[in-house]
Symmetry: C2
Subunit: 213 residues, 2 copies
């Protein structure tokens, strides 16, 4: 499977990487994702199109790499409660969606969906990482005694991601409200997890809950 | 603003409408939304491309009209509880997303986002109708005494739509699980509404709660 051919850490190459990333962001702001072209990125970044194609096979791969790089998630520090941990994560998700431009994600998600290779990379580099973080937060809650078992992680991911994506992407609502929505999503997910609202199948007690997702 | 130039109810024109709709569905199943063309729809439907362009200015408008037509929502019958009413609605949303093809919606949403006119029509013909239905369900809950006031309808919409869209579109998870997720979403939204989890701003008590959305 082709991966982005990123040059190793030579300073000149790193500057090119940075210029390309800045150009992608600037041009998406200016003309939207649909209007983004490799030629325009090359011109804006002051690099040759060959320099871009050495790194990325297509516009989609370039955009994916630049935006997903910015969307890297990390496990939030332990806040002492499941609700606090989930809020830290939903705030991170909300910041990501806003940072990558809510206007860009629909086009990028459509391209990811249409290309099996990008889809596999999205799954591996983004969704799997996020499920790993959610697993960490759930396991902390089990250690604290807030939960007795780990539920289906994919289901929890849908509860956490969904309302923020819907608010910012589908409904195209005010991004300024995203932090309050992040708080609400964390609160409702916590209730869903602790007040036994999840369907039995989500707690099927298989040795490896990941197999359910 | 251009609207789809639908011919009035002459039987021949209705047959053409039906043939176009069937062709759009068949070709999306066969080759995906990205591979859909007006030429292919005309050939499959046995109509001229002119007949399509008399109705729709673009491929996007045609697909939008066909899929959104199938996505028409109606207020579910009163089930006697807020949770039951919300579940009836989330089941309807899940069936919609599955019916229109989870593989189609990302591309269609991207095209809607990129075209201000389609965006305005999506807002008017779909999102506003759905918010009207949610308003009806919330008002029933107020009449029953389950809620004291009507909260921000857009926020409730995000809570209801979001996890189902995330599950089926972003996470690309098993559609067979959608009914259980619909039930979970209805349960968590009911708790969010009745257990005072919504932020104060969602209940700001303006005379017309629609103005918050």
């Amino acid at each position: 499977m082709a991966t982005a051919k990123r040059a190793s850490g030579r300073p000149r190459e790193q500057r090119v990487d940075t210029s390309i990333a800045e150009a992608v962001h600037a041009l998406i702001d200016e003309r939207g994702y649909a209007g983004l072209t490799v030629d325009a990125v090359a011109a804006h970044a002051g690099v040759s199109t060959a320099a871009i194609y050495r790194r990325y096979a297509t516009k989609q791969e370039m955009t994916f790499a630049v935006l997903l790089h910015d969307m890297r998630e990390e496990s939030p520090a332990d806040t002492g409660t499941l609700r606090g941990d989930l809020r830290a994560l939903t705030e991170q998700i909300a910041a990501q969606v806003r940072g990558s431009g809510a206007g860009t994600l629909p086009g990028l998600l459509a391209d990811i969906r249409a290309d099996p290779e990008l889809r596999a990379r999205f799954e591996a580099t983004f969704l799997t990482v996020e499920r790993g973080i959610i697993t960490t937060l759930l396991d902390r809650a089990i250690t604290r005694g807030e939960l007795t078992r780990r539920p289906d992680v994919g289901l929890v991911q849908a509860l956490l991601l969904g309302p923020l994506y819907a608010w910012l992407i589908v409904l195209d609502e005010d991004p300024a409200y995203a932090p309050e929505l992040a708080d609400l999503v964390a609160a409702t997910a916590t209730v869903a997890l602790t007040a036994n609202l999840l369907p039995d199948a989500a707690w099927s007690g298989t040795p490896n809950p990941e197999s359910l997702t």
